[in-house]
């Protein structure tokens, strides 16, 4: 497998060598096509253009990057890889394993990336001690979004434990509203499950189950408890949840039809776009029981080898991505927080500031974990196998005991 890739990379190198003389350009494959994201990426493009480096844009949206990954495979197989590709977690390591990525160590050393990027994140940006990609942001996924007016009206304080949360849900239900706005798509189910597992079993349990894939932990009673709690969530969503897009679920909270939504920090953009203000119209808080932890997923640009050495334009791109200016400009728009922990939080709003502080604290106390639901705890094959079980359970195909058994088998087959 490696041989084939090396051959193709070499072929690509030959082609690149002949073309890089005439034009300094970077080709970037990504799936950031919505207004805000693309505008933020434009900051990067302009930065490079000011250095005389052209930007060849290759957006392919869909399926949270799935389509882009398919296209990438076609591009690499045909010996024509892009300069940089937006990528998540384990995908980066998989490509690094194939020997397709560039070695950015010299650059990283010069710019001191090791000191400013949290260690949990470095696990996905480095392979065999070599930097292979440039991290852009950190999304944290264990957020709860709430409609403040609804909570105030019903006299609900921000819940800090699972029991308080359940009590709050009951209150909302009694008032005739939908307690939880949820979209029944596998990744959304898994996002909720992530937070619940972390809250139920604590960080050690989360790590053993989803990162170490320990069969005993996966099959434990705590896991069953987590599934039972999922069933509680299931009882508190409306009848039409299945297949709903996450942003339509967010709209339910914005419109006051529902009280809570469990979703990553990108949901904030929807609130802001609807003219809502954090802490006044809506609240953001960590999922009850996970106040000290942060589960994250990080967008990065994996750098594909264009030749035996890192080209000037590729280096410039990587430098620009990690510059504090871009990290701030991009993340203010995107709702996420910078991948560097040394960036000022001045430009961020209340939720953004909270997110940055949480990340810093979690990173230094060892409470920063890759999110299972977003491909930062285990490889794609395992992740999707877990999705299958969580979704089947959420849709009532399995009871909790069966779900635990199925989880163990599914991870076993796909490990």
């Amino acid at each position: 497998m490696r041989k084939l890739t090396t051959m193709m990379t070499a072929a690509a190198a030959l082609m690149a060598a002949s073309s890089s003389i005439q034009a300094q350009e970077v080709e970037v494959l990504h799936w950031w096509t919505s207004g805000g994201e693309a505008a933020a990426l434009n900051v990067l493009k302009e930065d490079l253009e000011s250095q005389g480096i052209g930007w060849q844009d290759m957006p392919v949206a869909g399926g949270g990057g799935t389509q882009a990954m398919t296209v990438l495979r076609a591009r690499v197989t045909s010996g024509n890889p892009p300069t940089a590709v937006q990528m998540l977690g384990f995908d980066i390591l998989d490509w690094a394993n194939e020997g397709a990525l560039a070695d950015l160590n010299i650059l990283a050393g010069m710019e001191g990336w090791d000191d400013v990027v949290p260690e949990a994140l470095q696990k996905f940006a480095k392979h065999d001690g070599k930097w292979v990609s440039a991290p852009v942001n950190v999304h944290s996924t264990n957020w709860v979004w709430a409609n403040k007016a609804v909570l105030d009206e019903l006299g609900i304080a921000v819940p800090t434990t699972w029991d308080e949360f359940v009590a709050a849900l009951d209150k909302v239900k009694a008032a005739g509203k939908t307690p939880i706005a949820h979209g029944g798509q596998a990744w959304q189910d898994a996002t909720v499950f992530d937070a619940i597992a972390l809250s139920t079993g604590g960080p050690d349990f989360y790590k053993k189950a989803f990162i170490d894939l320990d069969p005993d932990t996966l099959g434990s009673d705590t896991m069953k408890e987590a599934f039972d709690r999922m069933a509680v969530i299931r009882d508190n969503v409306d009848d039409n949840f299945s297949g709903r897009d996450w942003n339509l679920a967010t709209a339910m909270v914005i419109n006051g039809d529902a009280a809570f939504q469990m979703m990553g920090d990108w949901a904030k953009g929807e609130f802001l776009n609807a003219g809502k203000t954090p802490d006044e119209d809506f609240l953001c808080f960590r999922f009850p029981g996970t106040q000290d932890q942060v589960t994250f997923n990080a967008d990065q640009f994996a750098m594909f080898a264009q030749g035996p050495e890192v080209g000037k334009e590729q280096a410039a791109l990587a430098t620009a991505i990690l510059s504090p200016g871009f990290q701030t400009a991009f993340n203010v728009v995107k709702g996420s927080v910078p991948a560097r922990t040394d960036v000022s939080d001045e430009a961020f709003d209340a939720c953004g500031k909270k997110g940055m502080a949480d990340l810093k604290a979690a990173a230094s106390s060892g409470n920063l974990y890759g999110s299972m639901a977003h491909g930062h705890a285990n490889p794609a094959s395992v992740k999707n196998a877990i999705y299958d079980v969580v979704t089947a359970h959420f849709n009532g195909e399995y009871d909790s005991a069966t779900a635990v058994d199925e989880l163990v088998t599914a991870v076993e087959i796909n490990k």
């Binding site: 399926g63 197989t77 195909e397």
Partner: protein, 301 residues
Amino acid sequence: MSFSETANPRGSVADRLRDALPKLVLSPTVAIVAVFVYGFIAFTFYLSFTDSRILPSFGWVGWTNFENLFRIRAWDTAVSNLAVFGLLYISICCALGLLLAILLDQKIRAEGFIRTIYLYPMALSFIVTGVAWKWFLDPGIGLEAVVQGWGWESFRFNWIKDREFAIYTIVIAAVWQTSGFVMAMFLAGLRGIDSEMLKAAQIDGASTFSLYRRIVIPQLRPAFMSAFVVLAHMAIKSYDLVIALTGGGPGTATELPATFMYSYTFSRNQMGIGAASAVIMLMTIAAIIVPYLWSELREKK
């Protein structure tokens, strides 16, 4: 028998070239199909026995991928869904297409206009009509909400949210897309039927119903064949439709082999299992299509 052979008893170089010309014309197609269809099929067969994950790789693992494939519950669902979907889709499209064609064949005013209405869905890509369908079928905002808004409070239409019924909503949308095309095929078939024969049958006192059953429909057999080939090929390749409407959900309830194969090959980095599912799919297609093609093509000779 080829008459070009008999026409040229003596063969100069030019003559021989002329004789070979038809085959020469056909040869690029043959070469292309040999490499890009059958070559790739062979490649996929090979991949299904390897440990390919993110890219093709050539470590031989025997039947492991097939064994794993049959341990995955979603595959069973996908296969039985294809059976249900394919059967319903092909038969409903044929029935509806035939009905519409017969209705349209009654000297209808504005036939061209109505025909275009029935035909246009073929022109649209499911990337977005999928969203329109999704909304329409959604009980919260679509048909159910509208009918309830009219005062029929007990009206229920929540198939898309129901594991048992979701696959039928896929059928509804798929039929919407292609039945117009099938209608056009049958309409063309109807227009080609000899009217003298109908007249004779009419004089013999055949009823309208038996006229269609005994004389018209049997003559539409070639149209059925074309429709079958087109529909079967669409059913097997149905991918956009499922992704846009349900994303394979609720749960895995609307998974089809095409979505399964894509997901294992490209999003789950299990190219070996993906290839194994493609092999099974191809063999199933062959088992159904080949005898059919064989009987149809042989008869024509």
